[in-house]
């Protein structure tokens, strides 16, 4: 028996539009016509038409407008373009002009629209939970202003906004006694500290991988978890695309404990525990110096102890050193922020020794204000706690973030904040920090506010609102202005004013239109490795690794827990484990066996000794390829605030975060009684020797005819009695097709989220996912090859293949799924009666069924795409190749009397993909990228032997491993 019969996503709340004023709703929904997309099939359409009282000239009902703005995280901006339907933002795409986006987005960027419409956002100013007036806040701030700000403490999120920095500097002068701290749990600190060790200054490392033939990532998830991940993913992918047998390909080494997206695409992956990375780094530096690294003192190399690692490790280090030295100046070594400063320093040293500085590696001033300074350290929070206990704090302003939850637990910050005499929290949710503070002021979502921020590379990115604040929130700037006692003004006016002062000569309007300020990236600063200082800094060998260590990692979608109330992200399968609606202790099969646990069994993790011991119960999840004797646990769960979706899901990893232990503490684990059924979307991970995810090495593709023939066998014509293209298809139409590159796909899942946001795919909740009823039209299959403890992972985006001989079509009794003349496998929801025969006959099992009524009930409906039908209970649904975008492009082209251009149709998944692994277009146009990719030697069709003639083809997964000495 299972709990499939439990109601769908019971976890989801349902305060409806009633909470929202009618007026506000009209403003949101725009012309009633747009509401058409909100209702479901076979339900009566809206009976009223609500025209504008005065229609903005740029608005044409039914035609979305796009605005450039930015989403900010830990102070770093990602430029995005937001589609708005009559003032209702519905879809986020990357801004191609923005260096940190290049047109792509992360999964959590895609999901931002749902957070915007989260009905559980803080809605009104409260004083200890009771409604309060703004005047109360004014009094508080006026009081804080007194005596030069003595006793005033502010905790802000790291910021790079010139406008906020302007205010901070004014506060520093006007209120010299005020104390400021900047806090975000996963803001990059180690890198700056490490560069201070190596270069003498806290500088930010700027990689340029466009020319890197060899990349060594030391626990650095460059394409997954990095403020610049989207750009790096593109740069790495561009160096690894296989066009023909003569294509060059860069080589990527990954040293890590968990299995990250970077690890997935790596050619060589060395699985070691976090604390062992430093040993590898030292050995690598030594080897590089030994092979004649420039400027590096030979004695340093000699000083660094050779690793006592096992043979494969030694061989890999030798291979890395060899490849790096060969590619000196055309390679890069990167360290991840979970690593201590010493590793970053060593990485900088290796880059210097290889002459990469100024080529693939540069250094700039930090993009974030005061980054690398004490105000950003844990110590700043410790000081705050001390100050509160010392009674020195008269007013505490926490503006954004959630420090009460996301900070070392032993600080007791939440309790301390609660003890502060007067405290104010400004934020989106009534979260842990809000509950600790006296006053709560609703904050603004990025899509609701004016402002600016810098990208990781320093590019200044203007931020503009897409919609009036839904719940009348206030911006950080507004609070700071109030604190400074500035005369009232609109955020817009203040923004323009500050912009004019901070960025003289930069046209605000032009910047808004483009989404960036051209040429505003931070200049590279000349920096030299101070070898003697470095040698001193890393003289002491790394501490011996504990028996078992824990890595508290940011969740790939929820980050530090700020997105945990977003059901889209909770239901998005975590790439390494395919786990949804939970976090779990990831460990290797061997470690699991030693602890006597299997996936789902409960583990008690304990950090710290006797009195200070902190214990957390989490279910285990076995991840082949994870380092032995190490556990990875994602943060962001175990939330305890007012967000009803997030509450009580998973375990709070931060409770094991101590100032002493840091984010990679020693841990002891013990089997606990009990088992938790985990909602994992994939139960079988082997390919069973089936022609599904094909691949080989670059060498094989070049020299091994066998591989090429094998691949050719999986795309050639198949004997069939049925109509086949072109016979069955009139060729005056376009013939749509897709090509997916398994070589560059990292499995980051941005495409899955993009698909869901574009196509109104519902959230089904944990209960339904447990019974394999998730709704994603596009899923990322994950297959393991080779040894079970250290397998090679192949990820494969799998969605409707739009077969030319579609098995689903002929079994439908009512022709609800049919073939269009332009080669689409159409799904007509309103004709479907739900026999599910099509799903049974689909060899790819990519069809999804509405087992219950999963439609949005609350404010979330506003995130729906009005160009896609919202499916009713009991109908089948699946990938349509974003047919709404195709038809739109068709209509525009027909009206303009021109053929559809090669780039007129971009599917949602394709647009989001940072690696540009997805190509879409018409195969009647031989110049289209799809046609070109289908001609490549490693293009093939999945289950070609079934004669379904899929329109979606794949490029085999090609790896470029080197010889191991």
């Amino acid at each position: 028996m299972n709990d499939a019969s439990e109601p769908p996503d019971s976890s989801l709340p349902a305060p409806g539009l009633d909470r929202l004023s009618r007026r506000a709703f009209f403003r949101l929904a725009g012309a009633g016509a747009a509401a058409a997309g909100l209702a479901a099939c076979s339900s009566r359409p809206a009976r009223n038409i609500l025209p504008y009282a005065s229609q903005p000239p740029e608005v044409t009902p039914g035609v979305p407008l796009h605005y450039a703005t930015a989403l900010v995280e830990d102070g770093f901006a990602t430029g995005v373009l937001v589609a708005s339907h009559q003032g209702r933002p519905t879809k986020i795409e990357g801004n191609p002009d923005h260096p940190a986006s290049l047109g792509a987005t992360r999964a959590r960027d895609q999901a931002a629209v749902l957070s915007l419409y989260d009905p559980q956002r803080a809605r009104s100013i409260t004083d200890r939970g009771a409604p309060a007036a703004w005047s109360a806040i004014e009094q508080l701030l006026a009081g804080a202003r007194a005596h030069g700000g003595r006793g005033l403490h502010l905790v802000l999120e790291p910021t790079s906004s010139p406008l906020v920095i302007d205010l901070i500097e004014r506060i520093r002068t006007a209120l010299p006694a005020a104390r400021l701290a900047f806090w975000a749990p996963f803001a990059p600190r180690a890198q700056l500290a490490g560069n201070r060790l190596a270069l003498g200054r806290a500088l930010q490392t700027q990689l340029d991988l466009r020319t890197a033939d060899v990349v060594v990532a030391l626990d650095a998830d460059l394409v997954g978890d990095h403020p610049m991940a989207l750009a790096y993913a593109r740069q790495i992918a561009d160096r690894r695309r296989v066009v023909d047998t003569s294509s060059p390909m860069s080589r990527l080494y990954m040293v890590e404990s968990g299995y990250s997206p970077t690890g997935v695409i790596a050619d060589h992956r060395l699985r070691v525990r976090p604390s062992e990375v430093e040993r590898i780094a030292r050995a690598l530096l030594a080897a590089v110096i030994a092979q004649g690294g420039r400027g590096a003192p030979a004695e340093l190399g000699a000083a660094l102890a050779r690793p006592a690692g096992e043979p494969r490790e030694a061989a890999l280090i030798a291979a890395m050193a060899r490849d790096l030295t060969r590619a000196a100046g055309r390679c890069a070594v990167a360290a991840g922020d979970r690593q201590p400063p010493r590793v970053h320093a060593i990485a900088a040293a290796i880059n210097a020794a290889l002459g990469n500085l100024g080529r693939t590696v540069a250094f700039s001033e930090p993009a974030v204000f005061e980054a690398g300074q004490p105000s950003h350290d844990v110590a700043a929070l410790a000081d705050l706690v001390r100050a509160i206990d010392g009674g020195e704090v008269t007013a505490l302003l926490v503006l954004g973030g959630n420090p009460a939850y996301a900070a070392p637990a032993d600080l007791g910050l939440a309790a301390a904040i609660a003890r502060a005499p007067a405290s104010l929290y400004l934020g989106l949710y009534d979260n842990e920090t809000a509950r600790a503070c006296r006053f709560v002021v609703p904050g603004l979502h990025d899509l609701e506010q004016w402002g600016a921020a810098r990208g990781y590379d320093g590019t200044i990115t203007p931020i503009q609102p897409l919609i009036e604040p839904l719940f009348g929130g206030r911006s950080v700037a507004a609070i700071l202005h109030e604190l400074l006692g500035d005369p009232p003004a609109t955020d817009h006016a203040r923004t323009q004013d500050a912009w004019a002062r901070r960025l003289p000569g930069v046209d605000h309007a032009a910047a808004l239109a483009r989404g960036t300020v051209a040429g505003s990236a931070l200049p590279a600063v000349a920096a030299e490795v101070a070898w003697s200082a470095l040698a001193a800094a890393i003289a002491a060998p790394p501490a011996a690794a504990p028996a078992l260590e824990l890595a508290i990692a940011p969740h790939p979608f929820l980050h530090d827990g700020r997105h945990t109330n977003n059901p889209w992200l909770l239901e998005l399968p975590e790439p390494a484990t395919k786990l949804t609606w939970d976090n779990a202790a990831q460990l290797s099969p061997r470690t699991a066996a030693q602890l006597g646990v299997d996936t789902g069994d409960l583990l008690a993790l304990t950090v710290g000794a006797a009195a200070a011991a902190r214990t957390l119960d989490v279910p285990a999840v076995v991840v082949p390829g994870h380092a032995d004797d190490a556990i990875t646990l994602h943060a962001g769960f175990g939330r305890d605030g007012g967000e009803r979706v997030a509450r009580g899901i998973g375990a709070d990893a931060f409770r094991l975060w101590t100032t002493a232990g840091g984010l990679s503490p020693a841990v002891t684990a013990a089997r606990r009684a009990g088992h938790r059924e985990l909602a994992i979307t994939q139960v079988h991970w082997q390919l069973e020797d089936r022609p599904i995810a094909l691949g080989g090495t670059l060498q094989q593709l070049r020299d091994d005819a066998a591989l090429r023939d094998e691949l050719a066998r999986h795309r050639g014509p198949q004997p069939t009695l049925l109509d086949r293209f072109p016979a069955g298809f009139p060729t005056q139409h376009n013939q749509w097709a897709m090509s997916i590159d398994l070589t560059t796909c990292t499995g980051c899942s941005a495409c899955v989220m993009a698909c869901a946001t574009e196509n109104n795919t519902p959230v089904v909740g944990r209960g339904s996912v447990l019974n394999k009823r998730e709704m994603h039209w596009l899923r990322i299959d994950r297959y393991l090859e080779g040894p079970s403890d250290d397998p090679v992972v192949v990820v494969q985006p799998m969605t409707c293949q739009h077969c030319e001989n579609a098995p689903c079509e002929y079994v439908c009794p009512v022709e609800a799924t049919t073939h269009s003349p332009d080669g689409l496998n159409e799904m007509t929801y309103n004709r479907c009666i739900g026999t599910r025969f099509c799903s049974n006959n689909c060899p790819y099992k990519v069809r999804r069924f509405n087992w219950f009524d999963y439609k949005h009930r609350d404010l979330h409906v506003l995130a729906n795409n009005p160009d896609v039908t919202v499916r009713d209970r009991g109908v089948m649904e699946k990938c349509t190749y974003c047919v709404q975008r195709i038809r739109r492009a068709e209509i525009d082209a027909r009206i303009a009397d021109r053929p559809i251009g090669a780039h007129d149709v971009v599917t949602a998944c394709q647009a989001a993909c940072p690696a540009q692994a997805i190509a879409f277009g018409s195969i009647t146009d031989p110049a289209s990228s799809v046609s070109e990719q289908r001609r490549r030697p490693h293009s093939y069709a999945v289950l070609h032997d079934q004669g379904t003639a899929p329109r979606t083809r794949y490029l085999a997964r090609i790896r470029n491993p080197g010889q191991l000495p």
Partner: protein
Amino acid sequence: MHSHANRLADSPMAALFPPWTNTATRVALILLAAAITAAIVTPIVYARMPFATGAGDPLLQPIPFDHRHHVRDDAIDCLYCHEDAERGPYAGVPAAERCMGCHSQIWNDSQLIAPLRASVATGEPIRWQRVHSLPDFVYFDHSIHVNKGIGCVSCHGRVDQMAAVYQVHRLSMSWCLDCHRDPTPHLRPRDQITSMTWTPASPAETAALADHYRPRSLTHCSTCHR
């Protein structure tokens, strides 16, 4: 065999069933057959009746807007008010401001347009009744039809003769398909789109139009359903 039959024949059936029951039985059988037929035919017919399709039934609007007056007497072009018909999926109902363009000058104090003045003043939309409403899973796009030579009158009828606008056609899928299968006879010159009276002078003209627009017979599902 005989004995059996005879004994049954002697049984007191006459007492039990008087002769009229034979007729009754026959009638009952006929009625049964009729009922079964009716059960099948009625809904099929009903679905095509005006009160099922909503055709021919003028709705009470918040403002008694008279198209006869505006279109016929004042000769205001459809696109002056429904300007989005050329640009987007929805023809659109004019913003209150647009109406006020004229009505700030004429009839500006009429009680009839009080809701209009209110809308301009408060910014509250006027809640018009939707006359032509397609199901939500139908994606009809005005712009492609208007730009490819399908006139307003083809679907909306002689609006210029309507006091209160009503739906003229069934607006059912078969009705859409009638035209989608062969659009040619319905084509008209681009400059006659909004004309309520234009008809092709000759088959040759229609042929010329077909040659100009090159209409496609789009009958696959995703043409309208997405």
